[in-house]
C-alpha cells in the first residue's frame, strides 16, 4: 500500500503552522495601528476554520514587538475549567498585559459579562468569535478558493490534482479551511496523489527549533 507517514505529510499541523496569516486589506503594521486605535479592545470575527485562531496566535508574537505584553487564553470546549483559566488570564491582564481570548463564544453568558466588565480599564482584550458582538470588529476573517490556492502554494503543493482535490474539499466543507486541509491530509496519507513522487522532501527538522524552550 502506498501510504504516507505523518512525518512526511505536508498537511501535518507543524507544516500548516508555518503558513502566515493573510490579511485581505493591509499588512501587519497597518492592522496593528488599527488595533491600537481601537484601544486593543476588539474582536476577530469569522466562521469556523476561517483563520481566527491562526491570526490570534500570530498576534501573540506581534504585540510584544510593539511593546504590548500579552496573556493568551485558549478556551477548551469543556466548560468546567473556564472559571480557573479566566481567573489566571485576568490576573495576567491586571499586571499590564493585553488579554487574547481564543473562543469567546465558548464562555457562558456570566463569564462573558465578567470578562467584558473586568477588562474594561485594562490594557486590552482581543477575542475570536463567530459573530459580531459587543466588541468592535478588528478583522473579519473570510475564506475563498483563491486563499486555499495561496496556502497550497506556500506549502509548495501546486500540483493540479492537489488543487482540484482541495477545491472539491473546500466546497464540501462549505468554506471551512481547517476541515479542507484535514481532508487533504487524509488524501495525502492514503497516497492518493500520484503526481507527488518525492514524499520525503519535507526533511527531518519537523518541530520548530527552539520551541522546547517554551516548555
Amino acid at each position: 500500500m502506498n501510504f504516507v507517514t505523518a512525518r512526511h505529510n505536508p498537511f501535518a499541523t507543524d507544516r500548516l503552522d508555518t503558513v502566515p496569516f493573510r490579511f485581505s486589506l493591509g499588512d501587519w503594521e497597518e492592522n496593528l495601528q488599527r488595533l491600537a486605535k481601537l484601544n486593543y479592545r476588539a474582536a476577530i470575527v469569522g466562521q469556523r476554520g476561517s483563520g481566527k485562531s491562526t491570526l490570534l496566535r500570530e498576534l501573540v508574537k506581534q504585540l510584544p514587538k510593539v511593546g504590548q505584553p500579552v496573556s493568551y487564553l485558549n478556551l477548551p470546549l469543556e466548560k468546567t475549567a473556564h472559571g480557573k483559566l479566566l481567573a489566571a488570564g485576568l490576573a495576567s491582564a491586571f499586571r499590564g498585559a493585553v488579554l487574547l481570548v481564543d473562543g469567546m463564544e465558548r464562555l457562558s453568558l456570566v463569564n462573558r459579562f465578567r470578562i467584558m466588565r473586568e477588562t474594561k480599564y485594562l490594557p486590552g482584550l482581543v477575542a475570536t468569535q463567530h459573530r459580531t458582538g459587543r466588541l468592535p470588529t478588528w478583522i473579519h476573517c473570510q475564506t475563498s478558493v483563491t486563499l486555499l490556492r495561496e496556502i497550497l502554494q506556500d506549502l509548495q503543493l501546486s500540483q493540479p490534482e492537489i488543487i482540484a482535490a482541495g477545491e472539491q474539499a473546500f466546497l464540501r466543507a462549505r468554506g471551512n479551511l481547517r476541515d479542507t486541509l484535514r481532508e487533504l491530509y487524509d488524501l495525502y496519507a492514503r497516497g492518493e496523489f500520484s503526481s507527488v513522487t518525492d514524499r520525503s522532501s519535507s526533511g527531518c527538522h519537523r518541530y520548530p527549533r527552539g520551541e522546547s524552550s517554551n516548555v
Partner: protein
C-alpha cells in the same frame, strides 16, 4: 552557529543505550547566558502537537567559541514510530539563551533497527466477522 555531532555514525539507538556526542558553537553573542543541551521527543501529524523535554543539561556563561560533550541514556519509552496519523520523533536539541538560537538533530530510539512504522490495515470489522453466517470463513 551551533553544530551537534554524535559519536555513533548511525542515528538509531536502542533503549538503555548511551547517546553520546558533542556540541560545538562559534560566534555566540557576548550576551549569551547559557546553552541548554536537551533530549526531547515530539509528535507531528494531523492533530495538536505534543512535546516533552526528557533531559536538560545546561552550560552556564559559555565563551563565544567552545565545545561540550554530552551523554544521555536512551529512555525505554516512548519508542520512535510513524503512522499515517501521528509520528513520534526523538531529537537532541541545543538552544542558546536569551537569543534562543537553536539546532536540532533527529535520532530514533527503538528496540528495532529503525523507527517503528505502523502500517494501515483495511478495517473489516474482525469482531463481527466471527459471527458471520456464511460457509466462507
Amino acid at each position: 552557529m551551533i553544530t551537534i555531532n554524535l559519536d555513533k555514525t548511525s542515528n538509531n539507538y536502542r533503549p538503555g543505550e548511551v547517546i553520546a556526542g558533542s556540541v560545538r558553537w562559534v560566534d555566540l553573542p557576548a550576551s549569551t547566558l547559557r546553552i541548554d543541551v536537551r533530549l526531547i521527543w515530539y509528535t507531528v501529524g494531523k492533530g495538536s502537537r505534543d512535546l516533552e523535554v526528557v533531559v536538560n543539561r545546561s552550560v552556564a556563561k559559555p565563551a563565544a567559541e567552545g565545545q561540550q560533550s554530552f551523554e544521555f541514556a536512551a529512555p525505554a519509552r516512548p519508542n520512535s514510530f510513524s503512522g499515517t496519523l501521528l509520528s513520534l520523533l526523538w531529537a537532541i536539541e541545543v538552544i542558546s539563551f536569551p537569543d534562543q538560537e537553536a539546532e536540532q538533530l533527529e535520532i530514533s530510539i527503538t528496540p528495532a533497527e529503525s523507527e517503528i512504522v505502523l502500517t494501515p490495515i483495511k478495517d473489516r470489522s474482525p469482531k463481527w466477522s466471527i459471527f458471520k453466517l456464511s460457509s466462507n470463513r
